[in-house]
């Protein structure tokens, strides 16, 4: 970057302009860098430190080692939250990718009113998760929504009570989450599909490949970077998911649909167990790192390979 700037011939080549061109980007970027150093990395460090203290109502800086982590993994509710995250994370990412890709491929068939359909699928993304959660809460509520509607239409035996069923509640979060995110993933894939060189596909057609084979062997593999971006975006939404659960089930019935983020909020802010809450926040960071770092590393290696 720097060498490129220095090598670029500066018209009029005043040393002041050269200095300015060199310094200005740094000066403009500095505040952002400083702010993110303090407010992102600084607070991560603070949280890690708090998780090693016996903090309750207010921060307390006595050191107790890993006691909070031991208490955390002794807590049944934390295990429920972890299990729910596994179910929700896997289904949300997998279904989001699958439905998004399917929609994108279908829309890519040069159909009529594509623009209209595209924005139709994309609209849920314009809503906040709170709105999505509240709307689905009403739709899925057995005495207000879908079940009530079907029964009043005469389907007396129709039953859909996942929202109030402790064993199924987490799946309603998946439904609402996928509904919101699939359109966005579709847009990503559609952009990827449009970016594929037509001549490769034409060549494959000349060779007599079927449409299915073209998609399976050429198009989908060539969208690897899109998969990667979608995966990163979806999995971080999954791990930090909070507002959707709060609006849809509030972690209920009981704490059956608790996720690590709702667990953290409840312990740190309503139960005066700041240390335990901090420990769960650090665990969330580790989970995210465990999912993303291998991908980022693999992707980086692949790029170097390609070069």
């Amino acid at each position: 970057m720097q060498t490129a700037l220095a090598a670029a011939p500066v018209p009029g080549s005043g040393s002041v302009r050269g200095w300015l061109a060199d310094t200005l980007p740094k000066a403009v970027l500095a505040p952002t860098l400083l702010v993110s150093l303090i407010f992102v990395y600084g607070f991560i460090a603070w949280t890690v430190y708090l998780s090693l203290t016996p903090s309750r109502l207010l921060p307390n800086y006595e050191f107790v080692g890993l006691a909070q982590y031991i208490a955390l993994f002794d807590n049944e509710r934390w295990w429920v939250a972890l299990k729910n995250l596994a179910i929700f994370g896997f289904l949300f990412v997998f279904l989001g990718l699958a439905i998004g890709l399917t929609l994108a491929i279908l829309l890519d068939q040069r159909i009529r009113i594509e623009g209209f359909l595209r924005s139709l699928y994309l609209y849920p993304m314009a809503l906040s998760f709170i709105v999505t959660g509240a709307a689905w809460k009403w739709i899925l509520n057995p005495s207000l929504g879908l079940e009530h509607l079907m029964r009043s239409w005469g389907f007396e035996s129709f039953s859909f009570d996942w929202l109030v069923n402790p064993d199924r509640a987490i799946y309603t979060v998946v439904i609402a989450g996928v509904w919101q995110s699939a359109g966005f993933v579709m847009a990503l894939f559609l952009a990827g599909l449009r970016g594929i060189d037509d001549s490769i596909i034409k060549a494959a057609q000349v060779d007599g490949a079927s449409l299915f084979t073209i998609y399976r062997r050429i198009i989908i593999p060539s969208m690897r970077p899109v998969f990667f971006s979608a995966l990163i975006i979806l999995s971080h939404i999954a791990v930090k998911s909070f507002d959707l659960v709060m609006a849809l089930t509030a972690g209920g019935p009981g704490f059956a649909s608790d996720l690590p983020a709702t667990f953290m909020y409840s312990f740190a802010f309503t139960r005066n167990q700041l240390g335990l809450g901090a420990a769960s926040a650090v665990m969330m960071l580790f989970i995210l790192a465990a999912v993303l770092v291998p991908f980022i590393w693999a992707e980086g290696r692949q790029r170097r390979h390609d070069r």
Partner: protein, 416 residues
């Protein structure tokens, strides 16, 4: 500012009171009473302080049953700039006391003979290490059962006074095609019902042993198992839409005659009166089965934070005096649906439910059956309360056996 000074001067001249050394000293009060009757109650306090020549700075943080307000309060205290007073109650007062940020109100309390006006159980909640740090504003009774007599009449059922009678009444109402118990399946509501059940099944001494002293034997014992099996019966009397429902929507079901009864504290009364219903006629307030003569209390209070300047301290004192004055306690509680925390307030303007509540409050205070509501943060620290909530709500939403539930409850009681 000019207008304000003018108003202050006018107020002072009209009332003939002398202004304190710092005119229009600010009194900043953090609270989360922002809805209807509650907001009107706070407005009364504001009026009284402004009449004394102080400037009221409202610091209302709505939402989340005070969770949001607590988060804001923590950041204010940590930054060394606490408000004059904040709405904090129960053992949380002790936790704040331990942080060393509360003001000592002993002088005000002595001058106002608070010790003589408050029952000892209530006074103890307001003290940290023997010193007054908070002033109580009201007393809510939690172990109420709200009844729609019309529903009971249609079903041919009798309003239950024991848990055996409750089972029969539930059966009859369900057979008549109505919902027996209006319930909102949120952790705090599950536990609100459960603490009434435990009090009814085991009595006040058992209740205190289990939920105040956190005695392992009482928490995991046979009486607790019986309480859990009664809770299971109640759960079967609720409808399918209960999980996640807000308490006031459950109350509305009783008001509209869709459901027969609800177990809820006396803040539910506000919903009935707002719908134009009369106590004793359109709805009944009776103690939860088996809890007649016993009283689970939930007391709201204002905790005073240590102030730096003398003017702020004077304002704080005036605030504490105003809160404890009979005038404020009367008008506040008429609006809020609760009863005055202090003795010596005329009950003439209150309705029958409030009069019953007062009689039981005084009676149970003498008999020792006046117990703190643990589901409303009056008995045990927030962390232990949360752990007990988890067990009760898990039991309510699964097919766990009463025996396992009692065992888990004992385990949860160890949470520090």
């Amino acid at each position: 500012m000019k207008r304000l000074l003018f108003a202050a001067a006018l107020g002072a001249s009209l009332l003939g009171s002398t202004l304190p050394a710092y005119p229009a000293e600010e009194v900043e009060v953090l609270h989360w009473w922002t809805s209807g009757g509650e907001a009107r109650s706070v407005a009364e306090l504001k009026k009284m302080l402004e009449a004394k020549g102080y400037k009221w700075k409202d610091f209302a943080v709505a939402g989340g049953g005070g969770e949001n307000a607590m988060t804001v309060l923590k950041s204010r205290v940590v930054s060394g700039n606490p408000p004059t007073a904040a709405q904090i109650k129960g053992p949380t007062i002790q936790e704040w006391g331990a942080e060393g940020v509360l003001a000592n109100l002993d002088d005000t309390a002595k001058a106002g003979t608070w010790d003589g006006l408050l029952p000892p159980v209530v006074a103890n909640v307001m003290k940290y290490q023997g010193h007054y740090v908070a002033a109580p504003v009201n007393v809510h009774r939690v172990n109420w059962m709200w009844v729609n007599p019309e529903v009971f009449k249609k079903a041919g059922a009798k309003v239950p006074t024991t848990w055996e009678e409750f089972a029969t009444a539930c059966d009859k109402i369900q057979k008549a095609g109505m919902i027996a118990v209006a319930h909102g399946g949120q952790p705090w509501q599950d536990s609100t019902v459960f603490e009434s059940v435990a009090l009814g099944v085991g009595g006040a001494d058992f209740y205190k042993k289990a939920f105040v002293q956190l005695d392992q034997g009482a928490l995991g014992g046979a009486t607790m198992q019986k309480a859990f099996s009664v809770l299971r019966n109640i759960q079967k009397c609720t409808d399918k839409g209960a999980p996640g429902r807000d308490w006031n929507l459950a109350t509305a079901m009783v008001i509209q005659g869709k459901a027969g009864m609800q177990f809820m504290g006396d803040w539910a009364k506000g919903e009935f009166t707002a719908a134009g219903k009369t106590p004793g006629k359109d709805f009944l307030c009776v103690p939860a089965p088996g809890t007649k003569g016993a009283y689970t209390f939930n007391i709201d209070s204002f905790v005073m934070f240590e102030q730096k300047s003398a003017g702020a301290k004077a304002g704080q004192k005036a605030l504490a005096e105003a809160i404890m004055s009979p005038e404020f306690q009367e008008i506040f509680n008429l609006n809020k649906g609760s009863i005055p925390a202090r003795a010596g307030v005329s009950m003439a303007k209150f309705d029958q439910c409030a009069k019953d509540s007062t009689a039981e409050f005084q009676g149970s205070s003498k008999s020792g059956a006046l117990v703190p509501s643990w589901a409303h943060g009056m008995a045990i620290p927030a962390s232990t309360q949360g752990a007990l909530f988890d067990v009760v709500t898990q039991f309510f939403n699964s097919d766990m056996s009463p025996k396992d539930a009692a065992q888990k409850l004992a385990q949860a009681g160890k949470t520090k």
